[in-house]
Symmetry: C2
């Protein structure tokens, strides 16, 4: 019951920040979490998990590690889960303390900056892509969905467990980048085609809200706007696809 | 009530195919549909639409065009809608008859082939990306979610209204490509890095299921597997992001 109460509480961002904990849902995400160096506090499982062979194996592995497993009814489990198909398992783990100052930014480094990206699936997909394409970190500015939201963690397919995910204000990011002479670029349809702009040694690339694009605070601080060549009758790319192509184009 | 009954019926793929109709949900998708040359049969609206100024404008524009608008209760509207936030409006329209033989494949042409892609959001995002990056068409093979599913239409942000979306069997695709000497490539982590393979004049690029990748029937017919360079500890990219980067790399 204690694990159940905690899991329910952790659906709120404030509670996640106060406890320094987050929730990973679904068999695959929990498996990735268990294979990572992160500190797992406990699991909540429902009868649904134990109906599948992969689920039973997962539970055995977890118990062999001496982790606490709380078994609850489907109804109680559903009251704690955040994703659509949690598959009867969620794990509570300590979120790695990620601060801008702690990032390893040995050049050439690429930072992905999220400015008001609101869909958890988009944010999770961007974290997954940033990890896959070797970005140094993903930074969330205010207005972006919490990087440790359970839906974001699920969509990121384990990226959180080895790729630094940091939240900060625009001023904090600006001071941090200025101190390291790292330019801030922004993705915008009116920018220069990205393939035509020489890449700086290190760069921070900001992508904006799904509907409105970059916000005024980031726009005011960007030294270069970059775009992708798209057909004139299409308004825009999905933000996660755009981020993926830009990171691919900028990779070193 | 007739529009309501029809909209409910059109949630099933069979009914969409029998009637040759599909459903577009949400203010923005319906606006894109109205701006397209497609034949709109009628709208279903709920009080929610008329609570927003943009919704009232939409309704006025629709009525000015002489289109039939059926107003139903929130509850009835919800019984017909498929997406999470339909915003109180859906439109029924004729699906353009898209057959492989009708495609304009003047070289260089790129076709996107979906082999068992199951998530409607991924499929819609791939259609949106294919349209944006100038692909000639998107082709869905069996096992892929229906291209005219309302969630796919919503995610594609209007791509269906000007980008050809075709369903066929692997044999039909194979015969079609063979007759035009267009090679079939497949995206696979074990393939050659895409940037190292010379692009044929025209090419069909297949991407596979979210978990299992390409199926055996497509694998047996592919002349070239191509991959993207990703970090070793990351298993894969999201299929829509991978398709986007590959299309960007292959664009002419």
């Amino acid at each position: 019951v204690k694990t159940l109460t905690l899991a329910r509480d952790l659906r709120r961002r404030r509670a996640r920040e106060r406890h320094g904990l987050f929730v990973a849902e679904g068999v695959r995400t929990v498996e990735e979490l268990l294979a990572s160096p992160l500190d797992v506090r406990g699991l909540l499982v429902s009868p649904q998990l134990l109906a599948a062979p992969r689920g039973r194996e997962l539970r055995e592995r977890v118990e062999a590690r001496g982790l606490s497993v709380a078994e609850v009814s489907e109804q109680d489990f559903a009251s704690a889960a955040e994703t659509d198909t949690p598959q009867g398992v969620l794990a509570i783990a300590r979120a790695p303390a990620a601060r801008l100052e702690d990032l390893d930014l040995s050049p050439p480094a690429t930072l992905v900056v999220l400015d008001g990206v609101q869909d958890p699936g988009n944010v999770g997909t961007i974290l997954r892509t940033a990890a896959a394409l070797g970005a140094a970190a993903t930074v969330a500015l205010p207005g972006t969905v919490d990087l440790w939201n359970a839906k974001v963690v699920r969509s990121a397919m384990g990226a959180h467990f080895h790729h630094p995910a940091v939240s900060c204000t625009v001023d904090e990011l600006d001071a941090f980048l200025a101190a390291r002479s790292i330019p801030l670029w922004g993705a915008d349809a009116r920018g220069a085609p990205v393939a035509t702009v020489p890449r700086p040694e290190s760069v921070a690339l900001a992508v904006g809200n799904e509907g409105a694009g970059l916000g005024p605070a980031v726009r005011a601080r960007v030294s270069q706007l970059v775009s992708l060549p798209i057909a004139s009758r299409v308004e825009s790319l999905n933000v996660a696809v755009a981020a993926g192509i830009l990171l691919y184009e900028l990779r070193r």
